[in-house]
């Protein structure tokens, strides 16, 4: 057992004056009487109980000292359990902590629970909040008052947080300092499935285990590169309630409703709308009425005005290439030849190199290399051209979007050994026909064949492929998202794993941060004793 206020134990020194007063105080008064015979009865009773008379005063003194000890222990605030080492406190600040199903918000309940662990005289503590990256608000301090104030001033973030990085940081600190980690959370989020994250962590759960929440799971708008005036709006809805929801979803564009729908069922539900808005656009999604978590009941975004994508074709005159770009209203195409006249690259433009290679360290949003004659940063040319029939298209590849492989005729293509970082979008018998690297800047795609040749340019796939490539190489579609990962449904599917995975300390405690407070028991004992002592005091003068 340890004490949260050990300085109070000095009050035990009061036992000395209590004992001194008790022993030195003249208990028996001398009284002269006219005739002692009138007191013969009571004096006989005293003689007959001489043994108890001797014990009565020491027993009374012992009871007085016991009362003093109980009160001092209560003031010292004893704590049962592991409380000796430093504390590493982790506060979950994810958006779901804004739910108001914990007598105030969940974040407030969690902050209060952690603040209750801090007292004057408590060991040094550290405070970390979840986030990307996690934030260490208090590196190491003994200022309980200041840290409590900081805790209670925290607000929930606007997005979900993965607590694993914060917990890993906390565990490392606790291991280095010999302390323990206490994590206050509502247990919501995919990270709660990771038992390893919670190993050795004492978890305090806040919030209702069965919340009812409906929220916007997604809200985004984007313009197609081929037709920037067209806007696609996506909205998603999810709920944790099992029964039918009772929310109304409103989608507004520039303040005018484009959709009002009564949401029924438990979700999830997603829908897209298409509008024409060449200018800037304000979009808003609202779920009414608001519920326990207001953060996911409203979303808004602004889409900037449409602008044309610049495409620079570094190629000798090619009618097929010019024709396909002219057919894209969202494209502003230009041709440059010879390649030496290309002085510098436009980081916002897509460059099509046909019969040329880009200079070293070329700046562009994306590059499309059409059947390069030699290898380069993209890989080695190993042979060809050979007739190749496409037999594989990666369905997740944007370059292969809408391509129907079975409709593609065999076409002459060179053989390439792509760079290790490239991915194959289209292949023929394992030989890449289209391969790309879009995870870095600038993005690049290599076509092992010349799409401008009639063998391909006459096919209906030609404009689709070119539009896909241009759009994908641009890399930054004109879009707006409300917030990454809006899904804030409060389902606690993984709560059991949180409860099972916590280890060390006192385990998971819903709500209250500390074990049953022995202070209350001590005060209760002292109160019962004091009442009993007062009640029997007048009897202690009798035998």
């Amino acid at each position: 057992m340890s004490f949260l206020a050990p300085a109070a134990l000095w009050a035990l020194a009061l036992a000395l004056p209590v004992a001194a007063l008790y022993l030195l105080r003249e208990r028996v008064r001398r009284l002269p009487v006219s005739n002692i015979v009138l007191w013969s009865g009571p004096s006989r009773r005293v003689r007959e109980s001489r043994g108890w008379k001797r014990l009565r005063h020491p027993v009374s003194l012992a009871l007085q000292l016991l009362l003093l000890t109980l009160l001092v222990l209560a003031l010292a605030r004893p704590r049962i359990g592991a409380a000796g080492g430093p504390l590493v406190l982790v506060l979950d600040r994810s958006a779901s902590m804004g739910a108001t199903d914990a007598g105030g918000s969940r974040l407030e309940a969690a902050a209060r629970a952690l603040a209750a662990l801090l007292h004057s005289g408590s060991p040094p503590h550290t405070l970390i909040t979840t986030g990307s990256p996690p934030e260490m608000l208090v590196p190491r301090s003994t200022d309980a008052v200041g840290t409590r104030r900081l805790l209670l001033a925290q607000k929930p973030a606007e997005a979900p947080h993965n607590p694993a990085p914060a917990l890993a940081m906390a565990r490392a600190l606790a291991a280095a300092r010999g302390g323990r980690v206490v994590f206050a959370t509502d247990g919501v989020g995919s990270a709660c499935t990771e038992n390893e994250a919670f190993s050795g962590v004492e978890t305090i759960l806040v919030g209702s285990p069965h919340p009812a929440n409906a929220g916007l799971a997604a809200f985004a708008a984007s313009r197609a590169a081929a037709d920037p005036a067209g806007v696609t709006v996506l909205a998603g809805y999810a709920t944790s309630t099992r029964g039918p929801g009772n929310s109304t979803l409103r989608i507004l564009a520039d303040g005018k409703p484009i959709e009002v729908r009564e949401m029924e069922g438990s979700g999830p539900w997603f829908q897209q709308w298409t509008l024409r808005a060449p200018g800037g656009l304000s979009l808003e999604a609202r779920l009414e009425p608001p519920d326990v978590l207001a953060a996911d009941n409203h979303a808004s975004l602004k889409l900037p005005p449409a602008h044309k994508l610049r495409v620079v074709v570094v190629s000798p005159p090619s009618r097929a290439l010019e024709r396909v770009f002219e057919a894209m209203p969202g494209i502003e195409a230009a041709r440059v030849w010879p390649p030496e006249s290309l002085v510098y690259g436009d980081p916002g433009a897509v460059y099509v190199f046909h019969g040329a290679l880009p200079p070293a360290d070329f700046q562009a949003a994306g590059m499309l290399l059409i059947e390069p004659a030699v290898g380069g940063f993209f890989g080695r040319r190993t042979g060809g051209p050979l007739p190749m029939a496409p037999d594989f298209a990666d369905p997740s590849s944007p370059a292969a979007r809408h391509l129907r492989v079975e409709r593609l005729e065999p076409l002459p293509a060179a053989e390439f050994d792509p760079a290790p970082t490239a991915r194959t979008d289209l292949a023929s018998a394992g030989r890449p026909l289209i391969f790309s690297h879009w995870s870095g800047k600038p993005r690049w795609t290599v076509l092992a064949f010349d799409p401008s040749k009639p063998a391909f340019s006459e096919s209906p796939a030609y404009p689709v492929l070119m539009a896909n490539l241009v759009e994908g190489l641009a890399g930054a579609p004109q879009e707006a998202l409300h917030a990454p990962g809006l899904e804030l449904s409060l389902t606690r599917l993984e709560r059991k794993k949180v409860e099972a995975g916590a280890g060390g300390g006192d385990g998971v405690r819903p709500g209250a941060p500390s074990p049953p407070d022995p202070v209350r028991w001590l005060l209760l004992l002292a109160l019962v004793w004091a009442v009993g002592e007062a009640w029997t005091y007048h009897r202690r003068i009798t035998v």
Binding site: R27, V28, R29, R30, L31, P32, V33, S34, N35, I36, V37, L38, W39, S40, G41, P42, S43, R45, V46, R47, K53, H538, I541, T542, V543
Partner: protein, 264 residues
Amino acid sequence: MPAERRGALRGGGIEFSEYRAFVTGDDSRRIDWHAYARWRRLVVRLFVAEQDLHLHFLLDCSDSMGAGSPPKFDHARRVLGGLAYIALGNMDRVGFTPLGGGADAALTPARGRHRFASLVSKLESARARAGRTRLAAEVSRWLAARPRRGMVVLVSDGFGVGLDDAAEALDRIRHAGHDAAMVQVLSPDELEPPPPGEYEMEDVEGGPPVAVIVDAAARREFRERAGQFLAGLESKTAAAGIPFLRTFTSEPPGSALSRALTWA
């Protein structure tokens, strides 16, 4: 000059008392011939002999008389002095004896108002420090000196050796042929138990201290015993026809004297 007090003796006074048959040796001049004419019997007239009243005041000088605030002894002396003054004014012979005091502290019975000064002097010099006094024994010691028969007024608080000591002393006075009376002097404090607590009670007349725990039961018991003691003394004196006056130190002496005059 004889005191104006009827005596118990029959003698040659002028007040007719009764007739008696003539016997050989009676003075023939005392034969009532009118009565002979009526009854044809020889009878003699007897007359009441007027004599002096000897009033003996016995003052209890035990230590218990010094208790109280104001002390009972002072109140007792005042009441005694007042009674003595009245008696001297009636030409009675008044004597004073402090029980437990020496012979030189006593005053032999004598009449006359001039005796009052002497009595006062004796009262002033008396002290309540005779220690533990057995009233009956002190009265017996006084009776051994064969004082002239009269009225003996015992002024005491009644607290002697045991609660019956005063009643026994009065009995001895009566058995010695005296008329007895008692003035009991008490202090209101000594009839009220002390507050609850632990005490070592000491009898003011001596003896080892006694441990007493005063609680509700003890207080109740004390009041009962004190009530029994007071009632017992009253009933015994009433049964014996002994005039009894109880006075408290809180009562003005004059009020006590007024009540005492009803004894006459």
